[in-house]
């Protein structure tokens, strides 16, 4: 009886291992492929084999040294700068808003919460042209500051996950602190925030990744200010019909380089990300 159970179990496990390995391979394959492409020494953009015949680091060196047409290093630093700034602003706005909705009670709270949800249901593209002219009004078009504003302005609308997380922190803590004479300001900074590492990390991660992936807003905001492009738009222009034949390898190596910081961050922070999103989305 026990033996057959064990056999069954090990059989099931074998099947699971096989399935997971196959699926894992499928998921990793495109990433593996692009890394291989970026290291390929021989020409021909589309080839029917995966492992290059010759390996080279030339494309990576080109990427960082041939800056006349595509100033990749500069765009990389732009993106890093925009990402860091917008992630600081976004994180604070999201945490402030969600803490307020979770902990403070005031007259128009419900209205604000509903309003925020409804705003999220409109497709965002149409507003780009209006945003462009609002930024132009204050002379910000074509600047990195404009991008930072755009990426962080709407961030607080995504308050619900972190609000859900704050809801799980016992209110008794606040009450005890209030009795000890702490103001709400102190409670937020000294008690709630230190306990919210997962959700802080989650928010930081999601808002950090945004600017590395956007290729639509940059085009409208930056216009001809090529020195202020971000990598995502740079890579996107590299990949258009006319450029891709010439810059195929740079595109591949550029994509690999973009993925590096995000991958490192993500793998290190994964644990908190999961805790944050699970805590925020589900525990109730």
């Amino acid at each position: 009886m026990i033996k057959s159970y064990k056999v069954k179990k090990s059989l099931a496990d074998t099947i699971i291992y096989t399935l997971l390995t196959i699926m894992g391979a499928i998921w990793v394959f495109p990433l593996f492929w692009i890394v291989m492409q970026s290291l390929r020494g021989e020409g021909g953009n589309y080839v029917a084999y995966i492992i290059p015949h010759n390996f080279t680091l030339k494309h990576f060196i080109d990427l960082f040294t041939e800056k006349v047409v595509f100033d990749y290093p500069r765009w990389f630093l732009n993106t890093l700068f925009v990402s860091i700034c917008s992630c600081i602003i976004s994180t604070f706005s999201v945490l402030m808003v969600s803490y307020t909705f979770s902990r403070l009670r005031f007259k128009s709270r419900k209205f604000f919460m509903n309003f925020g949800m409804i705003l999220g249901m409109f497709p965002g593209f149409m507003t780009m042209i209006a945003i462009y002219y609002l930024l132009k009004l204050v002379n910000l078009t074509g600047t990195l500051a404009a991008l930072i504003i755009c990426y962080s302005a709407g961030a607080s609308l995504g308050y619900f996950i972190s609000k859900g997380f704050f809801d799980t922190i016992p209110r008794a803590l606040d009450e005890a602190a209030t009795i000890d004479g702490a103001t709400k300001n102190q409670i937020f900074w000294k008690i709630i925030l230190p306990m919210s590492k997962p959700i802080v990390v989650y928010t930081v991660l999601t808002s950090f990744i945004g600017p590395w992936a956007d290729f639509i807003l940059v085009r409208i905001i930056m216009g001809d200010k090529t020195p202020n492009y971000t990598v995502a738009y740079g890579l996107y222009t590299m990949s258009n019909d006319k450029n891709i034949k010439k810059f195929y390898f740079q595109f591949c190596s550029g994509a690999v380089v973009v993925a590096i910081p995000i991958t490192i961050l993500f793998l290190n922070m994964q644990k908190y990300y999961v805790e944050g999103v699970t805590g925020g989305a589900v525990k109730g």
Partner: protein, 431 residues
């Protein structure tokens, strides 16, 4: 008191907004006056080769060119400035791909460059939104450039832009180890030889720009109606001839030697199974990298339609320089545009970047005559339809037709093709 805080913050916001408003009000009145004072008189080059710039001085202009031409453009602009040592000119070079210029100009014409390059199919949108100023020195420009390129820069009888290139079209690139120069005069012959060698011939049938050859070769013509932006179709012989030519292409696709694939795939296929591809000059360098001296270029071949060899007719696009209608220095801007599109600058472009000139003098230069690719393009231009303003649905309409005949197992009967052609012509006028 809570609301008072809000009040304070709003007050601060208003202050900022009003400051910004003042700033903007200032610039706006400036633009208005610029528009008012914008009276274009004929700026013609006098005997010294200089344009009359009127009383324009302290000139600030911006020129857009594609990323790959920045260096040359900078040199040419400096040369123009050197013609006017007495005037202060601040001419900024901006980077904007030709295909992107239209979007940027229409998004914000104030921030757009005074002079920008764009492909001929964007002319209509730029004119209809009022973004372009008409060419004043039409006589000189018309005489200096290829007639088709002038036609492409003309909208409803008015010349709106300075023809800049005449190579936005496609030809045959072939691998000399597979095909000989005598083979590439006939598509049927090419297919025969390629098939024997186990190779293929690539054409981007899923792209209206290339796919229109299927019907143009059969004698499809079109005339643009400027009033409503539609096309009126006609036939040099009749509809049956067009159907027959589409069928002839379809048959080659169904035989399997002619294959439909994007040009990116096609170029790479030279490392595997491509004997020849139909592609534009912009890919010449990439192909050269792969084939080296074995790269051949020729004008499009003939195709046998019902036993008769017909020259393949294609669509020929041009790039041109436009001057935005709201430029603050119209005389200098037009003069600079004329200079940048002149014989000298076009010859430099052909020499340094292998870009085919629209200027007749530049077309005779060594750089063009000795360049196999540019020569082929030049020959093809005699068998082409100039890409003037085209109804918006054209691209998708012909793309769908191309996709249809190149799909495996497509029905090539007269009725089926006729129905496809009718759909295609109708969809062209979907604006």
């Amino acid at each position: 008191m809570t609301k008072k805080t809000l009040a304070i913050i709003l007050a601060a916001m208003m202050l900022i907004a009003s400051l910004a408003a003042c700033g903007d009000g200032g610039t706006e009145s400036k633009t208005d006056s610029a528009t008012d004072s914008k009276v274009e008189s004929t700026v013609s080059a006098d005997e010294t080769g200089l344009w009359d710039l009127g009383d324009e001085n302290n000139i600030t202009l911006k020129v857009w060119g594609p990323s790959t031409q920045q260096e040359l453009l900078g040199k040419q602009v400096e040369a123009f400035k050197a013609l006017y040592p007495d005037l202060t000119m601040d001419i900024e070079i901006g980077q904007c791909e030709e295909s992107e210029a239209q979007t940027q100009v229409r998004n914000d014409i104030e921030a757009a460059a005074d002079i920008f390059a764009f492909p001929s199919d964007h002319l209509e949108n730029l004119v209809s939104s009022g973004s372009l100023g008409a060419v004043v020195n039409y006589g000189t420009v018309t005489a200096a450039n290829d007639a088709n390129s002038v036609a492409a820069a003309t909208y409803d009888d008015i010349l709106y832009a300075y023809p800049l290139t005449a190579d936005n079209s496609y030809i045959i690139f072939y691998d000399k180890t597979v095909l000989g120069a005598e083979d590439v005069t006939s598509l049927d012959k090419m297919c025969e030889v390629a098939a024997a060698a186990g190779k293929k011939i690539y054409v981007d049938a899923g792209n209206g720009f290339y796919a229109c050859i299927f019907s143009f070769t059969g004698g499809l013509t079109m005339k643009h109606n400027y009033a409503d932006g539609t096309e009126t179709y006609g036939y040099t012989t009749d509809e049956n001839a067009v159907v027959a030519s589409i069928q002839a292409f379809g048959k080659l696709f169904q035989d399997g030697t002619l294959v439909a694939a994007g040009t990116d795939v096609a170029v790479s296929a030279f490392t595997t199974d491509a004997a020849a591809i139909i592609d534009g000059t912009w890919d010449a360098a990439a192909i050269k990298d792969l084939l080296g001296d074995n790269m051949g270029a020729a004008k499009l071949p003939t195709i046998s339609v019902n036993g008769e060899d017909k020259q393949i007719i294609n669509l020929f696009g041009y790039k041109m320089l436009g001057v935005k209608s709201s430029t603050a220095f119209p005389k200098t801007a037009h003069a600079l545009a004329e200079y940048l599109s002149g014989a000298e600058c076009q010859t430099e472009k052909a020499t340094e970047l292998s870009i085919g000139p629209s200027n007749l003098e530049a077309a005779k230069s060594d750089a063009v005559v000795n360049n196999e690719v540019l020569k082929a393009v030049n020959e093809q231009s005699a068998f082409s339809i100039p890409q003037t303003s085209i109804a918006g649905g054209f691209w998708n309409a012909h793309k769908a037709l191309g996709e249809y005949i190149s799909a495996a197992g497509a029905d090539l009967s007269d009725e089926a093709i006729k129905a496809q052609l009718d759909d295609c012509l109708e969809a062209t006028n979907d604006i």
